[in-house]
Subunit: 297 residues, 2 copies
């Protein structure tokens, strides 16, 4: 998401300072300046923030599943460090911060589908709790210090640039396994349903959030369409033109909610944003990127 | 609250292990065993938890106002340490944990008065955010490990045992100032409205939460009646039989919501609990305790 956002900002003529751990140079936009440092390195962070008007906060290295193995560590790495970031934003006179929250985890097991922003927030992962706590801290710093903010509760992003080697990013994971001839691992029945949104559509939502000056501080970003993991396997197979994809079934994971589909009425009404990249076209772009990047046929 | 709860538990025949920093022995129930240690002392905490069936978590040393001065510190002291407590409860095979959350801060500026549990939760203090995050962690540990829990969102407690020297506890503070001939400090106009509940009624709510086996995990505990700080000054004056109380007005505090009055329909319906101690009787008991404890006329 960060790379797509940086490119979109550079396209608009913004002066972009990227920040985060980047294991390889590929995909970094050459028009941006990049600082390769950890989120916890507060002195590097303070230097990177100097003179910045707006901050997009997309940092985070855990997944819902990994966060549950050590919630205390995840709390420190995500919420504590974000509070320090907010303090640094105050010092640097940053005007606005836009936060990538998680539409797939903050609601927990949804009581309403598609799920609007006003739905109950009962996460079943430390990851979701910590995203929610960060949202509340953003509101607190606005209340106390006038630091403006915008929260985007993003559904499951997919697309070029997404690593297939992490435990998050089911499209990338399935596609890479299929292209390299490995079996695809599916946790549970495969009927787990998610809302997939292309990273370039997410980047566009960030730009809309940047320009937005209305009253709504928390908005969902998704396609509004639910797809099961089993359907994704079929769609990826079609996108790759393969006769079939081998599947290995594993037991279900405790951090996975059964369904996550977001109601995106609010962001469309407030900002005019809507997703532009159709599912099949998005898969085709992702496949082209993955074949090129990993040299797969 | 801890002392009243310990007494109520001992009255019921429970074997009680108290834990926390206690600066003086007065008020500690001699029927309970007490460990004088900090919340962060995890080895002392682990020892105190050995063999316990139920844990009541009332620990916390910050106030809404103090929490906003260093949110990161408050986050570590409250949420991080509670996550460690939950891990220790798992190890010790604790069956249930009952948490004293904050009805006066988790809702933020209320949109509905009196405020039900289903109302939005938008705290304007780190204190409130952290109480809310702890609630979510309780739910997570139940989901992951079956550790049962009950959250009580308690309104403003008052009564015997409440220190008049902290920045929280407006009844104790006003009463002590009046009895010792000092001017009462009031932040803002004094029209800030709160819901006061006697500590013995809170202790009774904890016992109801202990016995409760229904589906509701989060319940408000309050009187359902709103009283302004200006009214409290008048009522304390009456309770003490003083002709008048001198007031010094200070500027309003950013962490104070204008109104907090809780809807307690849920806990009454689910558990049968209701407040038993009338306001005037509660103030009279508090005055008698304060005169005796501090030797004031």
């Amino acid at each position: 998401m960060g790379r797509s956002l940086a490119a979109a900002l550079c396209d608009r003529g913004a002066i972009v300072q990227g920040y985060g751990r980047m294991s390889e140079d590929e995909g970094r936009d050459p028009r941006a300046v990049w600082t390769n440092a950890t989120f916890a390195d507060l002195s590097a962070l303070a230097r990177a923030l100097e003179g910045q008007e707006v901050v997009f906060h997309l940092l985070g290295s855990s997944t819902p599943e990994s966060s549950n193995r050590d919630p205390g560590e995840d709390l420190t790495a995500s919420v504590f460090t974000t509070v320090k970031l907010l303090d640094l934003c105050r010092s640097a006179s940053v005007r606005k911060i836009v936060f990538a929250s998680s539409g797939g985890t903050v609601y927990g097991v949804p009581t309403i589908i598609p799920t609007p922003e006003s739905a109950p927030t009962d996460p079943i992962s430390a990851y979701g709790i910590n995203k929610l706590a960060v949202e509340k801290y953003m509101a607190l710093y606005r209340h106390l210090y006038g630091l403006d903010y915008q929260v985007l509760r993003i559904a499951n992003p997919y697309g070029p640039g997404q690593s297939p080697f992490k435990k998050q990013g089911v499209v990338a994971s399935i596609m890479h396994s299929a292209l390299s001839g490995h079996a695809v691992e599916i946790w549970g029945t495969g009927e787990v349903t998610r809302d997939f949104i292309h990273v370039d559509d997410v980047a566009s939502a960030f730009l809309h959030a940047l320009d937005y000056a209305g009253e709504q501080r928390v908005m969902n970003v998704g396609s509004g369409v639910g797809r099961t993991v089993n359907q994704i396997v079929e769609d990826v197979r079609d996108a790759l033109g393969l006769p079939q994809i081998e599947i290995v079934r594993k037991s279900a994971r405790a951090a996975d909610v059964p369904v996550s589909v977001l109601d995106t009425t609010l962001i469309t009404r407030e900002t005019g944003w809507r997703p532009r990249i159709a599912w099949q076209a998005g898969l085709a772009r992702t496949a082209a990127w993955m074949r090129g990047t990993f040299g797969l046929a």
